[in-house]
């Protein structure tokens, strides 16, 4: 059997054959060196997931009054939620996440979100992805969370899954977008080398800014693609979201210097027929996250994965067995460094006067408090630089100290 190190060495030589190998890759391939570094992964659930049905406050009588049709039955009932701590419970479709909660890898923050009460998908996503609600910032928080580029930085240090560069990852710290590793190639070697020099000197800024990193990444990914990828036994990725996480897992396991990654899963805007739409989506979501953790194995010790969605949904159901745009929501934090198996944050309650604008779950934890702790403690970056103007205060303690 080939060892990973052997593979790295072989592929670095292969890369060297087609041009200069990036120095970090040569280093990575040198015997006796470790390439394990800390990794932060952000998952965005676009469309405003209904946090109250994802992590169910089953101890709240009011929850069942507000949602006579679409409430998730309490644990123990038919199709009931999966109890976590006697107060909160996972949606039944999130069963695959329960073992991660039990083993202490999964922590949950409820009633969190952005302080601005905007209910526009676009604005709220922009605000959460930039990490600067209420002010204009040109780059994304996960890009700012990385150290500045040096000659040694990996060309795949920050990878977003998808054809478009998400706002979260935009910025000058070197991020690339990859839809599919297998397709991240050009079937035209002669043209590629000419275009590499063309883009290196281009003055037209739009695509050119991407040029150098793209061609470097092309070589790295080409070397990874030489070996077929088999996820760890039992890691079953689901759907398009799972395919994305599988790409991230593959890059991380190749040991090519990934520091941050981003993937998204859309389709959460359930204004109607929510209980028809939520289960398949959560099945994809939960199974894929569980598959990722399994696939990573003990690499999870270096990984923190955090999920978010632009806002929550109305506490009460609407007129079509769905929910409208709301406010507070739930975040999952997954990984070896997580002090899991417990709920974080302060539960504001669901009585009318406890709701935000008397309709939505209130936000008691700013999403930047969660992300700030990860950025500071896991990546070792200064929170103020990533979330300017925001004071994190006492950390929630989501991560082990």
């Amino acid at each position: 059997m080939l060892t990973r190190r052997y593979f790295m060495r072989a592929s670095a030589i292969a890369v060297a054959g087609m041009g200069a190998a990036p120095s970090w890759l040569v280093r990575a391939a040198a015997p006796g060196e470790s390439t394990r570094n800390k990794i932060l992964i952000a998952i965005f659930q676009r469309g405003a997931a209904d946090g109250l049905n994802v992590v169910v406050p089953h101890f709240e009588k009011r929850y069942y009054e507000l949602r006579p049709t679409i409430a998730i039955p309490a644990p123990g009932k038919n199709n009931g939620a999966i109890d976590l701590d006697g107060r909160f419970a996972l949606h039944p479709s999130l069963q695959p996440l329960k073992p991660l909660w039990d083993s202490g890898q999964l922590g949950i923050v409820h009633a969190c979100g952005s302080p601005d009460g905007n209910r526009s998908h676009f604005e709220a996503q922009d605000s959460m992805e930039s990490g600067t609600p209420g002010r204009t910032t040109e780059d994304g928080w996960l890009n700012r969370a990385l150290p500045p580029l040096t000659a040694e930085t990996s060309s795949v240090r920050a990878v977003a899954i998808g054809a478009k560069m998400p706002r979260t990852m935009r910025g000058d710290r070197g991020a690339i977008a990859v839809s599919d590793l297998q397709q991240f190639r050009v079937r035209n070697d002669a043209a590629t080398s000419i275009l590499e020099s063309m883009y290196a000197k281009a003055d037209a800024p739009l695509m050119a800014a991407q040029g150098k990193r793209t061609f470097d990444a092309l070589k790295t990914i080409e070397s990874i693609n030489r070996t077929p990828y088999t996820p760890a036994v039992g890691a079953q990725y689901f759907g398009e979201f799972g395919t994305g996480l599988r790409q991230i897992a593959r890059l991380i396991k190749a040991g090519v210097g990934v520091e941050a990654a981003f993937a998204e899963i859309g389709g959460w805007d359930h204004h109607s027929n929510e209980n028809g739409q939520l289960p398949p989506l959560l099945t994809q979501f939960g199974n894929s996250l569980a598959a990722f953790a399994r696939d990573m194995g003990d690499r999870m010790e270096d990984i923190v994965l955090v999920t978010m969605s632009e806002f929550g949904r109305t506490a009460a159901e609407d007129g079509n067995n769905g929910t409208d745009h709301g406010h507070g929501n739930v975040m999952f934090v997954l990984g070896g460094p997580v002090r899991g198996g417990r709920m974080f944050g302060h539960w504001p309650g669901l009585e009318s006067e406890q709701l935000f604008e008397r309709r939505d779950l209130a936000v008691t934890t700013d999403f930047r408090s969660v992300l700030g702790e990860l950025v500071h403690q896991h990546l070792g970056q200064k929170t103020e630089q990533v979330f300017p103007g925001f004071s994190i205060g006492e950390p929630l303690g989501v991560l082990k100290t």
Binding site: S120, S179, V186, N188, A202, A204, L206, T214, D318
Partner: protein, 637 residues
């Protein structure tokens, strides 16, 4: 400054540092004006287009594009559209003809044969013995069906019956799989192994001969089983396969064909650009429910007739269209009435709730269609607008899908929308008045003008231009043609600040490359998949925002790699349905090929890289075309 404008300006500053705002008062040279105008009003220059604009003059040519009815249409387009059979059908006709054949093989009624008392005992906690005796009273067929599909809680505490139920479920699943295989047989059940080889890997002629040798029923099953991807070189069979296998996907694929053929061949280029712009502004996602069928009429009847008309008419046409009513849930939104009993039936064991208000459309018409997110509305306005549109619904979505106003579900109470009071009891008039209020609101004039200027001028258009366009919008009661005239005749439009300042979207990039090569396109199926791979599946944007109109989202490494790969495939004749003739580049120098494809001299960086990098023997026409189409120069318009 508004927040949205702020973001756009900053983003513009990152992506186009070379072009500062003051360059919007530097006029383009006459040659550049010609190319620039074509790049903005069309899907890219074809050979001969520059000469045509030069002959007519920029101003005259723009005026013609603003009046497409005065431009004779290209016969090449009609020849290609002729084969598309659903474009002219009414929605009810499409629904009738292109129903997805149900795969539900046998109806399942687990509770059939039971009295209501028995059902109660089974469902609501009868004792173990009571439940056992009810189940034992069933005939063997009914018993099998109940065990396979009945509620599992009815079997609590009946371990032996639970085992029997597991076996019943498995037996049923196997029966279904066998039935499915009979209805949708795999190739190995239909053809010999030699025939399968031909069907998969034979030449086109061999495949045709094989299909012709089969009887009609078998031929259809084989074609369906092969699927569209395997038949991508044989467009007629590819279509046939989709019609049989995925009829509604097929209907939408004709709309994609229509869009791409028009973008590629229509002489009414500005009109096609505007159809694309407004379809994106009023985005509807083809993957939701029956949207694939509704979109044909949405584009043809609601968008296309109004793209150069009055904004109010466009807005109203979209508000009343079943595609929009369904996409943003308004068709279900109703006044909450306590005197109406909740609907019968249940979902996952819980009863359906009393229908009521749905805010989805009320919010998006304000935020995305008219005022813009900073246009000055509140949550109360969202609710009031949603209430005003209650009763705007769809008549028989499954069979007719036509607009209907239903007074019974309309909220008759007074509403206050953006300070305007809508008196109680006026029915459909409420929604019409909201359309008027929104179409005439100053924020709408500004929001629409800004978005048009972003499409046609620059990601961060000068505020003074947007203000003048908004003034025209207000003065002409939202006459889109007049707003465009103001923009096209502005100094900013033909300025250095706008020159090549826009990054092409995947659609614009792909279509402009095909046009520049003057390629012959007989089928757009593979081309549309390429555009989807580049991140822009046509009619496939899930969110109501539509695709980004500014460049920064499209500028990604995946995008760059994808564009190079596309250029390679296109120039090498590797995209099915597209025939490229490179002979006009034979024996041409790189500079000449680049100037031909770009419509202007390449930038020094591009030309130098090609001239220095290319080996003599590699400098084929298709290699040169690949390099030019992949170059930074070609990515902007």
């Amino acid at each position: 400054m508004t927040r949205l404008l702020g973001i756009a300006l900053v983003a513009g500053a990152i992506s186009v540092p070379a072009y500062s705002a003051d360059r919007f008062d530097q006029k383009l040279t006459p040659d550049k004006q010609i190319l620039h105008t074509i790049n903005r009003l069309t899907f890219g220059a074809r050979p001969g287009d520059l000469g045509e604009v030069r002959r007519l003059g920029v101003e005259k040519w723009i005026d013609l594009q603003l009046h497409p009815e005065r431009i004779p249409e290209n016969p090449e387009l009609a020849a290609r559209l002729k084969q598309l059979t659903t474009l002219q059908l009414a929605t009810w006709q499409i629904l009738e003809k292109y129903q997805q054949a149900p795969l539900m093989i046998r109806p399942v009624q687990p509770l059939a044969g039971l009295t209501s008392l028995q059902v109660c005992k089974l469902m609501q906690g009868g004792t173990v013995d009571e439940r056992r005796s009810v189940i034992d009273s069933l005939s063997s067929d009914r018993r099998q069906q109940f065990l396979a599909f009945g509620p599992t809680q009815a079997l609590d505490g009946l371990a032996d019956i639970q085992q029997e139920a597991a076996a019943a479920r498995q037996a049923d699943q196997q029966a279904r799989q066998a039935e499915f295989r009979r209805l949708m047989p795999p190739l190995m059940d239909l053809l010999t192994s030699e025939q399968i080889r031909v069907a998969r890997n034979g030449t086109d002629a061999e495949k045709l001969a094989l299909f012709d040798s089969l009887d009609a029923e078998k031929r259809q099953k084989v074609i369906r089983s092969l699927g569209p991807q395997m038949l991508v070189n044989l467009p007629n069979l590819r279509r046939e396969s989709m019609v049989v296998g995925q009829p509604q996907v097929y209907v939408n694929s004709e709309l994609v064909d229509n869009k791409l053929f028009r973008a590629l061949y229509s002489n009414h280029q500005l009109e096609e650009v505007l159809v694309d712009f407004w379809m994106n502004h009023f985005n509807v996602f083809n993957g939701k429910g029956q949207e694939r069928v509704l979109l044909t009429s949405f584009e043809r009847d609601a968008i296309r007739p109004n793209v150069l008309g009055h904004f109010r008419d466009l807005l109203l046409a979209t508000a009343r269209h079943p595609a929009m009513l369904f996409y943003l849930d308004n068709w279900q939104s109703q006044v909450q009435r306590d005197d109406i009993r909740p609907p019968a039936g249940s979902f996952n064991g819980t009863p359906l709730n009393r229908p009521g208000l749905n805010e989805n459309y009320g919010r998006e018409i304000l935020e995305l269609h008219t005022l813009g997110v900073d246009g000055g509305y509140t949550q109360q306005d969202v609710i009031a607008v949603a209430r005003a549109f209650t009763g705007w619904t769809v008549y028989d979505l499954q069979r007719y899908a036509e607009f209907q106003f239903n007074p019974a579900t309309h909220d008759r109470k007074e509403k206050i929308v953006l300070g305007h009071t809508l008196p109680p009891g006026r029915g459909e008039q409420d929604g019409l008045e909201v359309i008027d209020i929104l179409a005439r609101h100053p924020s709408t004039a500004k929001f629409i003008s800004k978005k048009l200027a972003q499409r046609f001028v620059a990601d961060a258009p000068p505020a003074s231009l947007v203000d003048r366009m908004a003034a025209t919008f207000t003065k002409t009661d939202g006459d889109i043609r007049a707003v465009l005239q103001t923009m096209f005749s502005s100094p900013e439009f033909l300025s250095e600040g706008a020159w090549r300042a826009k990054l092409k979207s995947p659609l614009e990039m792909a279509v402009s490359a095909v046009r520049a090569l003057n390629a012959d396109v007989t089928d757009t199926f593979a081309l549309s998949q390429r555009i989807a791979d580049l991140g822009q599946p046509l009619y496939g944007k899930v969110e109501p925002t539509g695709y980004p109109t500014t460049g920064e989202a499209w500028a990604s490494s995946a995008g760059l790699i994808g564009r190079i790969d596309f250029a390679t495939a296109l120039s090498g004749g590797g995209i099915p349905g597209i025939r490229v003739d490179m002979s006009r580049f034979n024996f041409k120098a790189p500079a000449a090929v680049a100037s031909d494809l770009l419509g202007a001299a390449p930038t020094p960086a591009t030309l130098t890289a090609i001239e220095k990098g290319i080996q003599e023997k590699e400098a084929t026409p298709s290699m040169l075309a690949t390099l030019v189409i992949s170059s930074p120069d070609f990515q902007s318009r």
